[in-house]
Amino acid sequence: MTRETYINAALSLLLVLVPFWAWSTGQAYILTLCTKVAILALAGVGLNIALGLGGLVSFGHAAFFGIGGYAMGILASHAQTFDPIMDWPILIEGTKSMPMIWLVAMLASALAALLIGALSLRTSGVYFIMITLAFAQMLYYFTIGWPAYGGEDGLSIYVRNSFPGLNTLVPVQFLILSYVILGLALLFSARLARAPFGLALSAARQNADRVETVGIAPYRLRLVAFVISGAITGLAGALFADLNRFISPTMFSWHTSGEIMIFVILGGVGRLYGPVAGAALFILLEHLLGGVSDYWKIFLGALLLAVVLFARGGLIGTLAGREVAHG
């Protein structure tokens, strides 16, 4: 057990105790905030695979977050109006089933990540950042001009989608669902980092020449990482849409890309629990400082600056010290 493991365990405990306390004292608002932390952390876990493990500074993960959200919005809106998405050549109807929506959200974001990644991974550095940003902005403007699903105003879904055996409109049930998914994503992410793929991807981040010389193509590693990363962030987008029962082009905007990146950087780039710590801190600050001033993001900016200048490992890195090698 390393120090980081203890910190992760403490963080997990805190994230369970806070909603438990809120639930037993009947504070539904806190439960919703905790759910939001888990979903945003999930988006960060996705980005962290590309950014932390692969060193791919994607400034366009809002694309996948938005695609996940719109997958939910499109499927659920057709289901609530009983209007099929298409009836020729085959009949495709909307659905209110979460597992189905998640599957579609992940497949659609994975496909988008494959296309965006295949093109943008041919560049690196600042060009990679700008191209990923450009793709996300393209989708942002596309959804603004897409009246079928609300255009600029977005689209409301009146009833939260369903999960077999659960009443998802009860805050604590949706919270548990989100926590379980986050837990599974963390487990997957931890295994991925230690697997052959993770070793090679991490090596490609540190020294691409080394990886090529042992006969492994860095491009393929990065593309697969980008697809996995996009699919997880897409799933987070679908959950986020369900949390708010609302989708809008904002999900695609560069602010969203920036916020997902902030979770990862605040918490600790490449740290398993980095996005969790980052998202929790972000929501906490938004909640506490947002009450003090509308300009709370000034403080967030100062904090981010401090982390980047003085605490490169983010919150987890500062507490746990340098990362010890896996294995």
């Binding site: 090596a203 010389t213 006969g215």
Partner: protein, 251 residues
């Protein structure tokens, strides 16, 4: 003589008016160490890059194991069995020494697209990695972070990673660079034994090592091979003495 494992035929590469490689034809036979020497700026690095696949020649071909590999990239050539070490260590610095070696073993075995089982518990990979570390004498540093290794130890690790690939031929770019006299001597002894496993194309500045090891030496000056021969032939060659070794202080 046996069929060469690795050969370049008329490799030419120009950067503007500068001919960095001028119709270079070299070969590497099984069991030999073929050293490539030449003054700074002679085009050694450019040649190495074209053999390894980082750079495509303007004209000419590279053959490896009887196959034309001119159009193949670094990854494909590495898979065919070309084991390269770099002049400036190219290692994953945040990894432990063992992780770097396991990466080599993984590359050699294949199966990178596995997402669940811990790679550092894979017995076959670990065995291969430990064996390579032991051969270069790094077995006691397996758990050390690579960034904390001394310069000489990094050179040893470069060689160890190449060993995990069990290559058919080695391409070594100044493996002795920056080593002390002791380290240089030890590595010389090691390479001496290694040639029986796979031949080595050795680019090296350390003349003691080159003359002690090389079965054949090629001298590169201004992008051209001006002489190829045994150590004695090279020592006696008047062109080489004039262009490179210097008339007065020939070894």
């Amino acid at each position: 003589m046996a069929e060469p494992l690795l050969q370049t035929r008329g490799i030419t590469k120009s950067f503007g008016a500068l001919k960095a490689s001028d119709a270079i034809s070299l070969d590497l036979h099984p069991g030999e160490i073929h050293a490539l020497i030449g003054p700074n700026g002679a085009g050694k690095s450019t040649l190495i890059k074209q053999i390894a696949g980082n750079m495509t020649p303007d004209s000419g071909t590279v053959h490896f194991l009887g196959q034309d590999v001119t159009a193949l990239d670094t990854v494909a050539r590495a898979r065919l069995g070309l084991g390269r070490t770099f002049q400036i260590s190219a290692l994953a610095m945040d990894f432990t020494v063992l992780q770097n070696a396991v990466l080599g073993a993984l590359g050699a075995r294949g199966g990178v697209m596995r997402f669940f089982l811990p790679v550092m518990k894979d017995r076959a990979l670990l065995a291969r990695a430990h064996e390579a570390l032991e051969r270069v004498g790094l077995q006691d540093h397996a758990a050390t972070r690579t960034a904390e290794l001394s310069h000489g130890q990094r050179r040893q690790l470069e060689v160890a990673v190449a060993l995990t690939l069990k290559p058919k031929a080695f391409l070594m770019d100044e493996p002795m660079a920056g080593l002390g006299a002791g380290g240089s001597k030890r590595l010389t002894g090691f390479l001496d034994g290694l040639r029986a496993e796979a031949p080595i194309l050795l680019v090296e500045h350390d003349m003691d090592a080159v003359f002690a090891l090389a079965d054949r030496i090629s001298v590169l000056v201004y992008g051209q091979v001006i002489a190829t021969g045994t150590a004695d032939e090279i020592r006696a060659n008047p062109d080489v003495r004039r262009a490179y070794l210097g008339e007065e202080d020939a070894p």
